[in-house]
Amino acid sequence: MAAPTRKAAIVGGNRIPFARSNSRYARASNQDMLTATLDGLVARFGLQDERLGEVAAGAVLKHARDFNLTRESVLGSRLAASTPAYDVQQACGTGLEAAILVANKIALGQLESGIAGGVDTTSDAPMAINEDMRRVLLAVNSAKTVQQRLKALAGIRPGQLLPEVPRNAEPRTGLSMGEHAAITAAEWEIGREEQDELAVASHRNLAAAYDRGFFDDLVTPYLGLARDQNLRPDSSPEKLATLQPVFGKGEGATMTAGNSTPLTDGASAVLLGSDEWAAAKGLPVLAHLVDAQTAAVDYVHGGEGLLMAPVHAVPVLLARNGLTLQDFDFYEVHEAFASTVLATLKAWEDPAYCKDTLGLDTPLGAIDRSKLNVNGSSLAAGHPFAATGGRIVATLAKLLHEAGPGKRGLISICAAGGQGVVAILES
């Protein structure tokens, strides 16, 4: 007989404001940011010297020296050094996947408490020596005699001295994520105007949430930054309309820097625990993580869009929980690009797609757009890849808590490699 399970409680979260690439956090490493984020969480919940069940976190862009990033961050934090930690990586799904991992262990009774998090820097991104150079140096290293060594070194050419800078590109297609998204946007005929409108709503909602103090217990300032640097409270459709497209080609190109997320630096963390643990610590329970699902699509040969995997994951999750897409009070759909969110919603409304591609008799249908990303999302906040999941989980949990018991929220996050991570939270 399977052991009875319980639902993991989300106690709260913390993140540092997200900064634009090569700006305020240019000198901060992933470890610096993750440590500061953990310390902010520790301060918020009085967890100094506490031995938690585990900390699971990760980064998408990682230096080789960061092989034990999360554990090193824990050791540098005010948590007890006896708190175990490990790194997780599932591209932009990292943060949510980490939360699911910790929540599942709590559900199984393997843990009483844990932190899930993520961090990324595009400013302090790792640079590798290029592949030719690497081969030369390996040859030098394995040379037995001085002569052999000199011979190997003589093989170095100027071009080999150029470092390899990581690109935000899919290894199997060579296309950037934006270019992939532009293909999907064209396929689903997502217009420029609706993308700009979604971007403006994101900025306005995020600004309003800051103004009403919503983030007072979710964000801790870092290096002089108190709000997300990318946030433009005065953003308007008129202003966004003036921007030139950056992804896609020719007349039909709709994706601009205004309706796509910029490269960002930042970190987030979520505190999870069993209800009993939270009660014993005198801590609140904002919501529970009810269930989660991942999916992947064949964007290389299968004709599906790179960022469409969440579209596949959600119906599976709904079916397992006996819910319809309309049974939610809040929807958090990660805004990698405005067009991604709009294509996702459109796909769920499309009878032919739902039948042929998702194998559903009836489409999932439309959602009440006033429940979508009500406190802004990645277009306004920015998207430090692995940190987005933690931002969304904590934000949604607080939203649900504010709305009262029995409210339900859906999270949908697309990730590189044609993957998607989705989850249901309930207050």
Binding site: D39, G40, A43, Q48, G213, T220, P221, G282, P284
Partner: protein
């Protein structure tokens, strides 16, 4: 923060130079450290008339492990250890003639006082005197103590505690405070005790054990020092500051093993959010509630009155006064959240007593705090709680560090101790008022100003 002048004046060369030039020679003050004895030497206890407190004082000192030199005669022992404190029971005076006894006792005793010594006079309140002559004698002590404070050197202080009939039980906490290093920068002051609402015994090493304390403006300066001292004394600290100060706030919370609450105390829903936070969290392993509230957050927006815009006026009034009123009222109204023996301490300022050029808004707000505390004291006593104000003088913080050197150096010396106070001095006074044993100190305004010349 470093007092370079004080360090210089106490160095070898500095001593010579400052002596020759007749410059002030500020002493290194005796400040409290955990584990320290109450006094570094013996105390002398004497009476001016048929006082009712001398025996109680002697017992209290012996309890605290302080050797007591009882002066049978006014001259006292010429040999033996020099006293670290001189305590005079001046209760029972009937008229000015009795003051001769005060002089006769104090003069030789004070002469032998050690550096960082303490002169503490206990007396009856003039307002309760039976005759004008008695009132005159009692009031005379006020002038006497203030003058002694000004004559003392070497970091010594003199203070006056007024003890109405029936309030004797309240004595221990103030006496301990004024003798200890906790009162290093409290000089020339007067505190009136009242019958303690709920007499309490406490662990003198960790008097705040198990208490939950909310401190506003805790991210830096005096507030950070308050958080540290309350935590050192055993309290679980909820450190509050504006969200923008969150990084420093988290640092303080983690340092003192407390919690950080990012909250602008002037937000429209600040009071309800504080109440909700305290309801939702159960700090220190007990049910929801708070024992100690320190209203420390404060701002200045200086301008001469004639040049002051409404914005400067209003923001200062809102942060420094209205927020204190609103948060306190909300806690009083939140059923049971403010625990029965609660201690509320409100930070006022010397400017609120003496006034200050360019600070009409600030001084008004800080004087308002004093009015608030006095008006609330009876209601607090009714529920077994206390509310008091602390008025810092010149305290060396980041704020004062950015003042022009001239203004700062002069400002720092305009007091009997010839130096600026430290944030920890304000914090120690607040921590004392927060003690369970301080139930007999209510509705008081304690200045932490080294007996500032301003508004004295």
């Amino acid at each position: 923060m470093n007092d370079w002048y004080r360090n210089f004046a106490n160095s070898g060369v500095g001593t010579t130079i400052t002596r020759q030039l007749g410059l002030p020679r500020p002493a290194v003050l005796r400040r409290y450290e955990p584990g320290q004895p109450l006094l570094p030497g013996p105390a002398v206890v004497g009476s001016a008339a048929a006082g009712r407190l001398a025996d109680r004082l002697t017992a209290l000192l012996q309890d605290a492990g302080v050797p007591v030199q009882s002066l049978g005669t006014a001259d006292g022992p010429e040999d033996g250890e020099r006293p670290a404190a001189v305590l005079l029971d001046a209760t029972g005076l009937t008229g000015p003639a009795d003051l001769a006894g005060v002089h006769a006792f104090l003069a030789p005793a004070v002469k032998r006082l050690r550096p960082s010594g303490r002169v503490l006079v206990l007396a009856d309140p003039p307002a309760e005197a039976a005759t004008p002559a008695q009132a005159a004698a009692r009031q005379a002590l006020d002038g006497l103590v203030r003058s002694v404070a000004k004559e003392l050197r070497g970091g010594s202080t003199a203070n006056l505690v007024l003890v109405p009939a029936g309030a004797e039980e309240a004595l221990a906490a103030p006496v301990r405070f004024f003798l200890s290093g906790r009162s290093a920068y409290v000089d020339g002051q007067q505190v009136t005790v009242s019958a303690p609402v709920a007499p309490a015994v406490q662990d003198e090493e960790r008097p705040l054990t198990g208490k939950v304390a909310v401190v506003t403006g805790a991210a830096r300066g005096i507030g950070a020092a308050i958080a540290r001292v309350l935590a050192r004394d055993g309290a679980h600290v909820v450190a509050v500051d504006v969200p923008a100060a969150g990084q420093a706030l988290a640092g303080i919370a983690n340092e003192v093993g407390g919690a950080a609450l990012q909250l602008d105390i002037t937000a429209a829903d600040a009071a309800s959010r504080l109440v909700e936070h305290l309801r939702e969290r159960r700090y220190a392993g007990v049910g929801p509630g708070v024992d100690i509230v320190v209203h420390n957050a404060g701002i200045t927006r200086d301008k001469l009155l004639v040049n002051m815009d409404a914005d400067r006026w209003n923001t200062v009034m809102t942060v420094n006064l209205q927020a204190q009123l609103d948060l306190t009222q909300a806690l009083l109204d939140a059923d049971g959240l403010l625990r029965p023996a609660a201690r509320v301490v409100c930070v006022s300022s010397q400017s609120g007593i003496a006034g200050n050029r360019g600070q009409t808004n600030y001084a008004a707000s800080k004087a308002g705090v004093i009015g608030m505390v006095r008006a609330w004291a009876p209601e607090f006593a009714g529920r077994g709680a206390t509310i008091n104000a602390v008025a810092p003088g010149f305290i060396v913080t980041e704020m004062t560090a950015s003042m022009p050197v001239g203004t700062r150096e002069v400002g720092a010396r305009l007091n009997s101790l010839q130096q600026g106070g430290l944030p920890v001095d304000v914090a120690e006074t607040i921590a004392w008022l927060a003690q369970p044993a301080s139930g007999g100190v209510n509705g008081q305004v304690v200045r932490v100003c080294g007996q500032s010349l301003l508004g004295a």
